[in-house]
Symmetry: C2
Amino acid sequence: MDSDSILIGSRNVVFNISLVDLSENVKQRIVWPPTAAHRELCYLKGKSEEDCHNYIRVGAKLDEDRLLLCGTNAYKPLCRHYKFDENKIEVLKESEGQGWCPYDPYHNNTSLYSDGHVYTATVADFGGVESMIYREPLRTERSDLIQLNDANFISSMAYEDYVFFFFREAAVEYINCGKIIYSRVARVCKRDKGGPHQFWDRWTSLIKARLNCSVPGDYPFYFDEIQSTSDIVDSVYNSTPSKLIYGIFTTPTNAIGGSAICAFSMDDIMKTFDGAFKEQESMNSNWLRVPPNKVPHPRPGQCVNDSRTLPDKAVNFVKTHTLMDEAVPSINQPLLVRISPRNRFVAITVDPQVRTLEGIAMDVLFIGTDDGRIVKAVNRGKSGSIFTEELLVNVKHSPIKTLSIARGGISGTKLVIITNDEVQTIPLHRCSKILTCRECVGIQDPYCAWDTVTNACIAHGDIIGSKQHLIQNVFRGVHTTCQPSGHVVSAVAQHPYEKDDMDMDNKEGTICPKCSECNTNLCSSGENSVGQEKIVIYSADTLGMVVTTSVVATLVIGFVAGYFCSRHFRKNAYTNMPLHNPHNSALNGEGGASYLSPCANNKSINLLVNVPPKNTIDKNANTSSDNNKTLQKVKKTYI
Amino acid sequence: MDSDSILIGSRNVVFNISLVDLSENVKQRIVWPPTAAHRELCYLKGKSEEDCHNYIRVGAKLDEDRLLLCGTNAYKPLCRHYKFDENKIEVLKESEGQGWCPYDPYHNNTSLYSDGHVYTATVADFGGVESMIYREPLRTERSDLIQLNDANFISSMAYEDYVFFFFREAAVEYINCGKIIYSRVARVCKRDKGGPHQFWDRWTSLIKARLNCSVPGDYPFYFDEIQSTSDIVDSVYNSTPSKLIYGIFTTPTNAIGGSAICAFSMDDIMKTFDGAFKEQESMNSNWLRVPPNKVPHPRPGQCVNDSRTLPDKAVNFVKTHTLMDEAVPSINQPLLVRISPRNRFVAITVDPQVRTLEGIAMDVLFIGTDDGRIVKAVNRGKSGSIFTEELLVNVKHSPIKTLSIARGGISGTKLVIITNDEVQTIPLHRCSKILTCRECVGIQDPYCAWDTVTNACIAHGDIIGSKQHLIQNVFRGVHTTCQPSGHVVSAVAQHPYEKDDMDMDNKEGTICPKCSECNTNLCSSGENSVGQEKIVIYSADTLGMVVTTSVVATLVIGFVAGYFCSRHFRKNAYTNMPLHNPHNSALNGEGGASYLSPCANNKSINLLVNVPPKNTIDKNANTSSDNNKTLQKVKKTYI
């Protein structure tokens, strides 16, 4: 809870990890296993030993010293208010967690603490079929396919008077054409007080729209399944400041593996919600646009002063017309597309408006794959987007679960990477790893420039004073000073798939000829490399199907990918904890355990705790006591 | 028209090419340019010089010495009956070709001569919007989106009492969900005589169904765009003899490039046509299954004795219920899938029931890509399908237009490959090119076996007598005799995409590490290689947008891929000509010209005729006279 620290929820435990050196503040560790009675009940329900732990999935810092946590608690979701003293952690109260946290650690959820309320979106029943968006006491209708249809929640964030939820779900409007998953954004009003009379506990402002991430054409090609979003970032679009959300969209699990990055402006999202509604007049009708004259006043889905005074007609309309007719368009076409049978994108975070040497601002995207890689890309605005770097950060090829950027402070700006295996931080750029001018310019990384005086590739943002002696070319990747041969690094092709192809064939090669070799290469820091840190808490090898969940103290903005640098850096009042949930279970069939490991800057001390029996089939009915095991040195698996 | 010969239609000309050595029988050449008046009219309509030729697209051998040809004739389709004498070719009659042949050489068409009738499917108007299935005088309804909706015809074939058409078209049943292309098979009765009264010139038996080539799953992934089919082949499915059709299906043009091979049994196709119909009750209704009690008697779509006596109700029903409710399922899931941003599959032919050394029969598939490659694959039945070989046959990477197998006779069995650039033949196997036992067994080619006596890789089918000394392993690709190290060539993965991935990563490497290097490698025969022959008639380089069309004397079975070995080999009464049409214009934006070249078995004499001006922009208003140019030697471009 100090500055430079991060809370990471896990299985039966929440760790407080320093971002300076990834060491754990053991005094601030919260241990919260399910009771023996709850575990017994969980077994009786037919669940496995691994499932019958308390996977902590919801976290919110309510004020300076109070923290709300909710966990799966052996298939009996439970929430707790904790109070932190100097050296003491106290449980203030405990309450039922149904609707706040899923029963099953494999189910996705998202939660958000905003203006004194906790918003959650999850599956609210034991069987995992009842999707729900919830803010006490308001909830979505039960088994109403129009409101939510087997939704998989990705993220949530607050913006203006509203809270937004990003998710994918079975498309009700597509049923006559087959089965398909669509990506959605839903919106509720923060001031929603429920409807009149029997609607007192129902949303009166919930509406949703499809997110359109597609390659345009006579027959557009859609990337339909949202996997991750960034937070709302202050960016620039069409030369005007815009609030953007970057999202990762993939093809379905059994389709050709394709991933796309699309960005949506909050203005476009709001505009879609101000547009026409969609309806199906009768059971066998098509889904059609609702004529404007059929929309009641006040317009459903808007914030009103007191929703309890709304006419029944308006409340009924919004319940049966949750879906907007138009989809939210992405800005331009997909910024980047990758086609690969080997991996998909599953996580994203953005360093917005990074300035090039010439002062041009560009969003730098950090993308996690489902096989343990980090891909770096740059949205250069009108000049198109490019992939610049790719590195393998998890040699076991575990999916990247959460990416986030921890800023400033004594630990500097870092990319924090959480997989089911481990937590690690790496610098946002690897300029100093590059040894030649040509490569330094060729990587087209806005962070990096070649210093013609010292003959080194440096992060020009760290330089104060004259930058005359630095060279960079993010647009073309060549500079006459260091490339007199005139060889031009191939420009970015216009067709998005070709971009990808180039990325796979050429760009990877620029830095790292074969990514499988990354860990022995420039792409990856070796054992003694500076800046990359990792903490291993317990080993996934030994866990098989266990998915480690973690706490996110969400804030003003969302919590799926979770904020996780402490308030010192975010200049806000909350400590953020990254969520460590099995988001993309569709893509990543197996879970894994959570690693957390502290290691000092240039040291490689990995610590192993919470080690269940080696054989996953061996059930250990009392692994809760594992938390008390002392830390022990283990063979380092990877840096 | 002799044995061992093949008719190839082209621009203003039909060549008679010997399959023995690919030499042209100049005496049998038919020259048929449009008249100067037609060309002038074509220019007046705003068409280019290249479009205003006579691209011969329909061909049918009516009897021993009579041939029907139809061509685009400078945007004024025309048909002619030719009579062949010993040394004379005579035009018997000439008639309008509208409905038989498209106006635009870029448009697809198919035609079939069966039981004395010519069946054609094409676009029947100048603008190219009116798709039509035609057999004098019967035709499909004009502008009826339910019957045909912007159809792209692929092939046609006769089976039992029916004629089948394979095509892709905009899916009318999908309109409420967006725009999409579906693959279809349509069926008409050969004995259809038209309806009563005003329906005298309309089909009374035309029905169609979707072809389902998809990777199964909760959310199946569809390959929706049919590109090519084989003929009906006598194969085995589920241990029983079956009539199968192999088809190539791709993703849409602007989607991730993916190609799949699916096979359909004629039994399944017939069963689907015996199933429920689909209908849209009113304009805004969903498309739903028609209840059986609403289907009139006699059941629409069946053959009846005299369709002119059908009740109006039955005729009206079939006109408004052309579409079947169920799609035709493919046998199993796609046999093979390839995902590649570089190329797609566009042509297929099958050598059915090739026997392995142990006598197990397998269909060998030869697949052409849109970048000039031939991929060989084996359908091993329950053991799954594998790619075995890939070779670049067209160094200019022109799309393969037509593939066919020419059997027996003095020229032996050969694969005939037609691109816009050239015609060439290659042997069906390349066993003798392989020098080591390990590779010979590893290629998993049913044609090839390793001779342990002579230490050579041979085609075991040619061996008469004992085969005890031969080894082969089509299922695992290893044999202890030649691989004592025990290294196992990786088995075929179960997931179809992985198969493909393997194919791209490993299999290509088995024979040919990089296919771009194929022409200097084992994969491709060098200048002196035995068996590969090529004939170049005129150069695509100089033509730009011109698509060469060709004549297919279609027969009992279809004509898009066209039969083209002469009657001597087919044991039928017709000479077949391959169609050389711009089938896949969606995938292959540019056309090219047609090459034909005769060269003796081990010689490399390429001949160049019909050479338009080097600069495509230079218009040559009288290229029809080009046909009279004498043959001249040219630099060989590729063997």
